[in-house]
């Protein structure tokens, strides 16, 4: 019997989770959403998601190599960024622009700050926000869901030549005899024309929108799985959704003819995917129990504020980025009261 060799300090046990495992499961949870997106928008959605994922992972890999460090793609977080980015772009988005957004996501959004764990903003949203400011028209160009030729041909703008502007989609839609499609998402219809969309349709997701944002039901289910596996902070999701619902309810009660119902608010646009998958990015959200709720509420309220009163018809992305920016302050202000703290203060006073 020889002497033990492993000298280490306590604790000697570890919980079941590890970073790569959590990240991998998030990718799994995103797969049904990707699948639905492809069913709904066809080949263009498929290549869009693949491009974003490949470019994100590739950027991270080559940047690590360039710096002479071992590659960090094994932690799967770059893959999440890529898949999510693909899911929040319009299906018709030209691939070269998606690639630019991916490089910005990983390059400026993540690696610039030191990589995994140090980025202060949600990388996928950094990429999208950049794209939204750079390519404003393509990123607000929508195509109809369930177009009948979606598995036979790509949307013409998908393979736009790099650095060129995408072609006008109207002739294509006319050829496909997509009549009456105004190119508007339910949110835009609501905002500019006060046209409501059936909630059932919104819930299932057979509406126009970003590739993966449309089915709030599916997103919620995938989120529930992750929450059940304790891989996502359900408190963030709950506070985003609750605050958005309450805030929009206040206006809806005031004037139902102009303002949408809380249900519409929750199920339309990117709120659901934002709340479930993007607000919950651990790196850029607070850690304290109270901070998490404040963070979620900021997102919910700012989203509704932008949707109802802003120039844009969607505000989830900006709301999350703003809340990301406020995260360090929130963390600072909501340090937990430690066990045994208050009484001591009293004692000191007395």
């Amino acid at each position: 019997m020889s002497d033990p060799v492993h000298l280490k300090t306590s604790p000697h046990l570890r919980g079941a989770h590890s970073v790569d495992k959590i990240m991998r499961h998030v990718v799994y949870a995103l797969m049904p959403i990707c699948l639905f997106s492809i069913v709904q928008f066809g080949l263009s959605a498929l290549v869009l998601i693949l491009t974003c994922t490949a470019v994100c992972v590739g950027t991270e890999h080559f940047a690590c190599r360039l710096n002479g460090r071992p590659t960090t793609v094994g932690d799967w977080s770059a893959a999440i960024t890529g898949v999510l980015l693909g899911l929040i772009l319009p299906p018709s988005f030209p691939l070269w622009m998606a690639a630019v957004a991916s490089v910005v996501s990983i390059g400026i959004g993540k690696l610039f700050f030191g990589g995994l764990g140090f980025n202060v903003f949600n990388p996928a949203l950094v990429g999208r926000a950049f794209a939204q400011a750079a390519f404003t028209v393509p990123i607000t160009t929508w195509t109809p869901a369930m177009a009948h030729a979606r598995f036979k041909e790509f949307i013409p703008s998908t393979f736009t030549f790099p650095f060129a502007a995408p072609p006008d989609l109207r002739p294509w839609m006319e050829r496909l005899q997509i009549d009456g499609f105004t190119g508007a998402t339910p949110l835009a219809l609501m905002k500019f024309d006060y046209v409501d969309t059936e909630s059932a349709k919104l819930f299932v997701g057979t509406v126009a929108g970003s590739a993966g944002e449309t089915s709030s039901m599916l997103i919620l289910l995938c989120g529930l799985y992750l929450a059940y596996r304790k891989m996502l902070n359900w408190k963030i999701v709950a506070s985003v959704l609750a605050s958005a619902a309450v805030f929009s309810w206040i206006f809806w009660v005031k004037d139902p003819s102009v303002y949408p119902t809380p249900l519409f608010t929750l199920t339309s646009g990117g709120l659901m995917i934002g709340a479930v998958f993007m607000a919950t990015d651990m790196v850029s959200s607070p850690v304290t129990p109270l901070g998490v709720v404040i963070y979620g509420s900021i997102i919910g309220v700012v989203t509704v504020m932008i949707r109802l009163f802003g120039g844009l018809n969607e505000g989830v992305m900006y709301a999350i980025l703003l809340a990301n920016a406020a995260t360090p302050l929130i963390n600072n202000l909501t340090q937990p009261r430690i066990y045994g703290a208050v009484r001591r203060k009293k004692e000191v006073k007395a």
């Binding site: 306590s10 995994l116 651990m282």
Partner: protein, 454 residues
């Protein structure tokens, strides 16, 4: 959540908030009655197996000692005497490896083989006749220290600081560490001695009541204790939810009586005295006869041993001998003295069992979640550690500061010194950041700085 007026903790199942639920793994030994092993040929008795000043030897090399005889005396108040755990001869006094690492001065006792090993020392005392001060002295003479692990001299804890009065004694039978079952078996098998010891503690401290606290995974212990309690007894037993680290005195105080021990103070600040089950049981056994601590129950467990069990062994038994008895023959395994959450690995199998050691845990190679095997990542701010820390600290921020070597702000702004190193944060961290290790380094660096400054 702190709301002492309502005592909200009572609503939430009567426990503290946060904490973790590691797999209990008590099945190896929890049903195994305490078993007495034969004496080893040689005992190693470190002079400092307790917190405080080392004892001073009363014997010379080559001197014969009788089981139960004092062989070292206390050196001052925060120190305890040492009694011979067996009849034999002091063959040497020299430096020996210790559980804490550095070699310490130890008495080597060669046990006489075939000796009946009767305890001849000690005389019955009428405890009721003694003044509290005399009882404290009597406790010191038994050499009792906290058997829950800290090995802090028990008589010091019985000396209530000026201005405090103790109304409640809490007996800590949580044994929240996975694997260990020492206290559990003691409560089941020696409930009478436990309650006797409890009453002695109450009398010394002038407490009006006592609560024996255990976890819901030890309901047989609750039944056993209830059996020996009187109707309307001032001693009661209560099972609180099973959760780590329920056994930490701060958490227990919160769970049992809803009191928070203020940061930087002892339980006496809120009228409590907290003692471990093993300490209290020995108190009940030793005090009436004025004997000394010469043996203790040790759980030897884990998948790495063939015959896990709860063994009563003389203090000073070398681990190598004990492990041999229990069927540990493997290659170098992962040997932990104490529980998996707070215990330390031992550097040498010649380390002896000391008063504070309640368990030996042997994990096998493949269970070894060592840092080399578990890939380490940067902190991803998941907040799992924040939700786990029973002291409601912010291990995430502490860890990030420690990573950059900013030790002072850790203490100044993030309450580093309130961390009692329970390991809950490291346990849950998906990035496998050695948080507790960081915190130990930070604390000692800060201590050094303070020492240098003064």
């Amino acid at each position: 959540m702190h709301l002492s007026a309502f005592n909200l903790s009572q609503f939430f199942g009567g426990t503290f908030s946060h904490g973790i639920h590691p797999a209990e793994n008590k099945h190896f030994t929890e049903a195994k009655p305490i078993e007495r092993l034969p004496f080893p040929a040689q005992l190693v008795l470190p002079l400092s197996m307790h917190a405080g000043k080392p004892s001073v030897p009363l014997v010379r090399k080559g001197q014969e000692v009788v089981r139960g005889e004092p062989i070292a005396r206390a050196d001052g108040f925060v120190s305890v005497p040492l009694h011979a755990p067996a009849t034999g001869v002091i063959s040497d006094i020299r430096l020996m490896p210790s559980a804490r690492g550095p070699r310490v001065m130890s008495l080597i006792l060669d046990v006489y083989p075939g000796d009946p090993q009767e305890v001849l020392y000690g005389a019955p005392v009428e405890l009721d006749a003694l003044s509290p001060k005399e009882i404290v002295q009597a406790v010191q003479d038994t050499g009792l220290v906290g058997l829950g692990g800290a090995a802090f001299p028990t008589h010091v804890k019985l000396t209530v600081p000026e201005g405090c009065s103790i109304d409640t004694v809490l007996i800590n039978g949580c044994e929240c560490e996975p694997f260990l079952t020492t206290d559990h078996r003691l409560m089941v098998e020696q409930a009478a001695d436990l309650v006797k010891g409890t009453r002695i503690l109450m009398r010394v401290l002038g407490a009006k009541r006592a609560v024996i606290g255990t976890e819901t995974n030890k309901m047989d212990a609750v039944a056993a204790i209830q059996n020996v309690l009187l109707p309307n007894d001032t001693v009661s037993v209560k099972a609180v939810p099973t959760k780590y680290p329920q056994g930490a005195e701060k958490m227990l105080a919160k769970a049992l009586v809803g009191r928070e021990i203020p940061s930087g103070t002892f339980p006496s600040a809120v009228g409590l005295g907290v003692f471990n089950v093993a300490t209290t049981t020995q108190m009940g056994q030793l005090m009436p006869m004025q004997r000394g601590v010469i043996e203790r129950v040790v759980t030897v467990t884990g998948p790495g041993v063939k015959r896990p069990g709860n063994y009563i062994v003389p203090i000073g038994t070398p681990i190598r001998w004990l492990l041999n008895r229990c069927g540990f023959d493997g290659p170098a395994g992962h040997l932990i003295m104490g529980g998996p959450m707070m215990g330390g690995t031992v550097s040498s199998l010649d380390t002896p069992i000391t008063k504070g050691c309640g368990g030996l845990l042997v994990l096998t190679e493949h269970q070894l979640t060592s840092e080399e095997q578990m890939k380490r990542y940067p902190c991803i701010s998941c907040g799992a550690c924040v939700d786990a820390c029973p002291m409601h600290l912010n291990p995430c921020e502490l860890g990030r500061l420690a990573y950059k070597g900013q030790y002072e702000p850790m203490a100044e702004r993030y309450h580093l010194n309130d961390c009692f190193e329970c390991g809950s944060c490291s346990y849950v961290c998906p990035a496998a950041i050695p948080l507790v290790q960081y915190f130990r380094i930070a604390k000692s660096s800060n201590r050094e700085k303070v020492a240098k400054a003064s």
